[in-house]
Amino acid sequence: MMDSPPALALEDVSKRFGRVQAVDRLSLRVEPGHLAGFLGPNGAGKSTTLYMIPRLVRPTRGHISLFGVDIWNDYKKAIRSVGITVETPAFYEYLSGRKNLELAARLLDHVSAHEIDEILERIGLAERQHDCVRVYSTGMKQRLGIGRALLGRPRLLILDEPTNGMDPEGTHEILSFLREKVRNDGLTIFISSHLMSEIEEFCDTVFVINQGHLVVSGSVKELLKPHERIVRVTFQGRIPDRDFLSRHEQIRKVEPVTADTLEITLARDDSAWLNQCLQQAGFSVSALAPKQKTLKEFFLSITGLHRAEVTPLSDQASTAPAGEKHHE
């Protein structure tokens, strides 16, 4: 049996604006049925990449295909099964929300009035569908943008900051709805967001871009494996003091988390040694576990934006240089 083509594939894609290399030889594949996150700091080339998918921006080089169809060979066929929102969704403000969807629906095959009703219901705008878009809040416009992208039952949804301006309840509703679409309809979603928690919670795959390059990609689970060298230790009774900890070369940094918990960075992956050392010194350890990474932490470390927020132990002891990163 032949492998199904990727929902979205970028091969060696570059874009230069004058002297600025916005995207540089970027390649990525989003497999059908996946929830893929697209992360990057401001100016990383995220938006330019998203703009190139519906041909709003012409790549300097490279190929982009949707379900195996090159967008520059047969754009209509390629884009037919894709719903896209780029940046803040824009609408004809003098028209109602429903009319905006009707205009978009005309350009797609066989979108019934019933489907528009259904979408308006699901995005929570059924009651306000006849209001002019100019009176909608940012969150309502975002929801309408997602509704527009869902018209025509797309197989791939490309969403740029889809929950920007939404309240937590609205965000939760929309993400739950999208997750349900993935589960029930086999939808593929490629979502760009600066909300790390959103990506961490929602996506199973993540692509991180910085200065136009793909820095890292992989499954969220794999990327957020617990730290091997950072250990959170909870004590019963007294906790070790600075002098004790600075005597051990294997201990690189210590950060108090709560009154009875310390975060200890080790020189190597050896939490068993730490446990033994603390027990031998008479400290009562009630819990010792590798620290769970967050996507935010991971993102900051690999994009080079991170400056260690923890105070190195050596600084506390006023001996060694500061600024070590958390990650390998």
Binding site: R58, K76, I79, A90, Y92, E93, Y94, K99, L107, R148
Partner: protein, 265 residues
């Protein structure tokens, strides 16, 4: 997938019907027709001595200033408004080719020009019929042109007047493609129109600028209304060629720019 031109055109019609600018243009033309009615009553010259003359006089004045302004303002908004607000990105993220969208905008621009021109003609004819009769054109010696002859020439002149106005639509669309802000696009469109009008004589470009023909048909028809020996040719050929070439050049330049430009801002 078949061409999306028809659904795109339907979308353009829906949008045009819900906007204020097209109605404002028609209102402005109606207002100017009303003002002309009072002016014509006071000057009482030979140009307005019969209904044909009145219509020619009124249309000539309408399409000297307010008509072209309304047409170029409408055309200049077509692309620039969507680029400025970002709606163009949503429109092009659908299974739509850029040339189809540009063509739909061109057709709606031309359609508005026809509507505005028809509105001006209707207003002028209605006001003419208050005092005059659309009968034969004559002088003291008798009938010079029969009613049917006058009617035929007016229909011909009316149709000919669309040619330079069509070129004006293409020019407005080109500006709309070049300028991303709708307000600036309208200002540039109207400003350029006036600048060309004021300077073309000074720099000797008058014979090569199509705007000189915007009211040419109506000036010729006024001669007919006075019972004079009017002549369409050879000037009408110059008008057709100059306006046609200008329209094709402006349309092609606008289309190429629109198809090739990056729409990331």
């Amino acid at each position: 997938m078949s061409s999306q031109f028809v659904p795109l055109l339907r979308n353009e019609v829906t949008k045009a019907l819900r906007r204020k600018l097209p109605y404002f243009g028609i209102f402005a033309v109606g207002l100017v027709c009303g003002i002309i009615y009072f002016i014509a009553g006071q000057i009482n010259n030979t140009a307005t001595a019969n209904a044909w003359g009145y219509v020619g006089f009124s249309m000539q004045l309408v399409f000297t200033d307010i008509g072209p302004i309304a047409i170029i303002a409408f055309a200049a908004m077509l692309v620039a408004e969507e680029t400025g607000t970002g709606t163009i990105r949503a429109a092009l993220a659908a299974p739509v080719q850029r040339w189809e969208l540009y063509l739909a905008k061109t057709v709606i621009g031309l359609f508005y020009m026809l509507v505005l021109s028809a509105a001006a003609l209707l207003f002028s004819a209605a006001l003419a019929s208050i005092h005059y009769h659309f009968g034969a054109v004559g002088d003291s010696a008798g009938v010079v042109y029969s009613r049917n002859q006058a009617m035929q020439q007016f229909v011909l002149g009316y149709a000919l007047s669309w040619i330079p106005l069509g070129a004006l639509v293409m020019f407005g669309l080109l500006i709309s493609t070049l300028v991303r802000n709708p307000g600036v696009a309208v200002a540039v469109g109207i400003g350029t129109l006036f600048l060309i009008d004021f300077t073309k004589h000074l720099v000797g470009l008058d014979p090569y600028i199509f705007t000189r023909y915007l009211n040419y048909s109506w000036l010729t028809l006024q001669q007919l209304a006075q019972g004079m020996d009017y002549q369409w040719r050879p000037e009408v050929w110059k008008m057709i060629v100059l306006s046609g070439v200008s329209a094709v050049v402006a349309f092609s330049a606008g289309l190429v720019l629109f198809v090739r430009r990056d729409l990331n801002h």
